[in-house]
Amino acid sequence: MPSLFEIRFHGRGGQGAVTGAKILGDATRMENKHFQAFAHYGAERRGAPVMAFTRIADEAIRIHSYIYEPETIVILDETLLEIPSVQEGMNEDTFVVINTTQSPKDIKIKGKISTVDATKIALEVGILVAGIAVVNTIMLGAVARATNIVAIESVKDAIRKGLAGLPEKVIETNVESAQRAYDELQMGY
């Protein structure tokens, strides 16, 4: 890992991008790293495109400005691929982790592409909130595999901690689904 590793999540309001960014940060903290997790705040509406960020470092983080060239871009919904901001700051070395039915070779954007059908997993196990498939925790399993930035076990622990208060069964479903996304991820590099 470079001394600073930055991740940008693209989601839609209600998909849990911010919570995902925070849980990922927590997972890295369990491995004694420092993190910031934040969102790009504006007029939040359910379904509107949103961005969230995780910044990970070995030392205390002194940067407080936005993230412009993230090492990893996580796309929580394939419909977001059409949005220009998704490709901002992207280059050939950027890890791009996408929730889609397609395989990496079908995705025509630069970067190290990996794909997983997280929506299918969410629908199968029933991770739905008010009718929206919440794929944030599932995608964290994929991020762990695609980037190797954090161990899947740390992600699972962080999910348990981050969802504390929900019924045990719901939490374990999320944990298992993250593992499933980790296993089912297709990597095009």
């Binding site: 960014a21 925070k22 903290r29 993190f35 910031q36 934040f38 002194r62 407080h64 936005y66």
Partner: protein, 392 residues
């Protein structure tokens, strides 16, 4: 036992309240402060915090309720931001002049119109003269620690002043990091229970606060507030040293300096920009450029002497204000120039306005500004104030 929690800057403030256990908390929600008081309400509701939580209909009322509670000799806490702080303005003077040690985090946000919820220091800068101690924090742990330090400082019988800690909207208020928090039992040596020593409202010994005082007394009472600030000036290093002794952390006292000892150009800013500047300095140092960063942490009482000391070795200052006093300059650069004029120091002080209304200022921008400071140092004269990044 102390523990590590992953929280936003706002929740760092809520946790600090939970640790210090104010007797009374009266607050009104406003974006982006809302989650501070939301979390506190949750703590109170769950029984994790035994405070009287007073719901009020405005920020003006929130501060009025805090004034009443504090006058009863109780530890008192509130929080606000932007327009909410502006609405409090009258009561801020009241708390300051009545010498009531209310502690308040303020999330720095712009004022409208237009509607804008992002970081800007105009709100707290506009309250400079209300008799409140002002700290500016640069990270979540510092928000938490400074609230505890403020209770200790403000409640000191020689100080007896209200105090605010400002934190940048979203950059801190809504950004999660991990911080260390404590239970009250662990900090009681640092922050004892508040006992109002001088006076407090007591039905058995009735008194009036703020009754009429004519021209023969008012001036002296204003000076008494000023003396409180001078007492705070003496206390701040002691409080910080004691905090470090107990918890192993300090945040730089009045001014958090970085690589200033042999710096030719020193970059000065408040809040998160002041911390990010360290990164710019580090990168410039790697290129052999002698830059330094000085983050002003305490704005009232203003650290004039420390500024004068910094100016003894440096060749130029670059001062960024994240606020604008329309028709003149930024508040920070004005104070710095005033301090140096008083001591007869003539190094050029370059004024810069940047980052208003949440406009991002990166360490790469700060590097450019510091490099500009070297041009200024060579010329021996500051340029007209720079509106950095302004689209014309």
């Amino acid at each position: 036992m102390s523990k590590i929690v992953s929280v936003t800057g706002n929740h760092s403030a809520s946790w600090a309240a939970r640790t210090a256990i104010p007797a009374v908390i009266a607050a009104y929600p406003i974006t982006p402060q809302t989650t501070i008081v939301e979390k506190i309400a949750e703590f109170v509701e769950n029984g994790d915090l035994k405070s009287e939580y007073v719901r009020v209909e405005s920020e003006h009322s929130a501060m009025a309720a805090c004034i009443g509670a504090s006058a009863l000799g109780l530890r008192t806490f509130t929080a606000t931001s932007s327009h909410g702080l502006a609405l409090m303005h009258e009561m801020l003077h009241w708390a300051g002049r009545a010498r009531l040690p209310v502690v308040m985090p303020v999330v720095n946000r712009s004022l409208g119109p237009p509607w804008n919820i992002w970081v800007d220091h105009t709100d707290t800068m506009s309250q400079r003269d209300t008799g409140w101690i002002q700290f500016y924090a640069s990270n979540n742990q510092e928000v938490y620690d400074t609230v505890l330090m403020l209770f200790r400082l403000c409640e000191d019988p020689k100080v007896l002043l209200p105090g605010m800690v400002a934190l940048d909207a979203y950059i801190l208020s809504h950004t999660f990091t991990s911080i260390e928090v404590y239970d009250y039992e662990e900090i009681i040596d640092f922050l004892p229970t508040y006992e109002a020593g001088h006076w407090k409202l007591n039905p058995k010994d009735p008194m009036a606060i703020g009754n009429i005082a004519g021209p023969e007394y008012y001036y002296e009472l204003s000076y008494a507030v000023h003396e409180g600030f001078e007492a705070a000036r003496k206390m701040i290093p002691k409080v910080e040293a004691d905090f470090k002794k107990h918890f192993g952390r300090a945040h730089g006292g009045f001014i958090d300096t970085y690589q200033c000892d042999d710096a030719e150009v020193i970059f000065i800013a408040l809040g998160t920009m002041g911390e990010e500047a360290q990164l710019a300095v580090e990168e410039l140092r790697n290129e052999g450029i002698r830059a330094g960063s000085a983050r002003i942490r305490v704005f009232r009482p203003f650290p004039a002497e420390q500024i004068q000391t910094l100016a003894q070795k440096a060749k130029a200052f670059v001062v960024v204000d994240r606020s604008l006093s329309y028709g003149h300059l930024g508040g920070v650069v004005t104070e710095i120039r005033s301090a140096l004029y008083r001591s007869g120091q003539t190094i050029p002080v370059q004024g810069v306005i940047a980052g208003l209304g949440g406009r991002d200022v990166r360490h790469t921008d700060i590097k450019k500004l510091i490099q500009l400071g070297f041009d200024v140092a060579d010329k021996g004269e500051a340029m007209p104030d720079i509106f950095y990044g302004l689209k014309r």
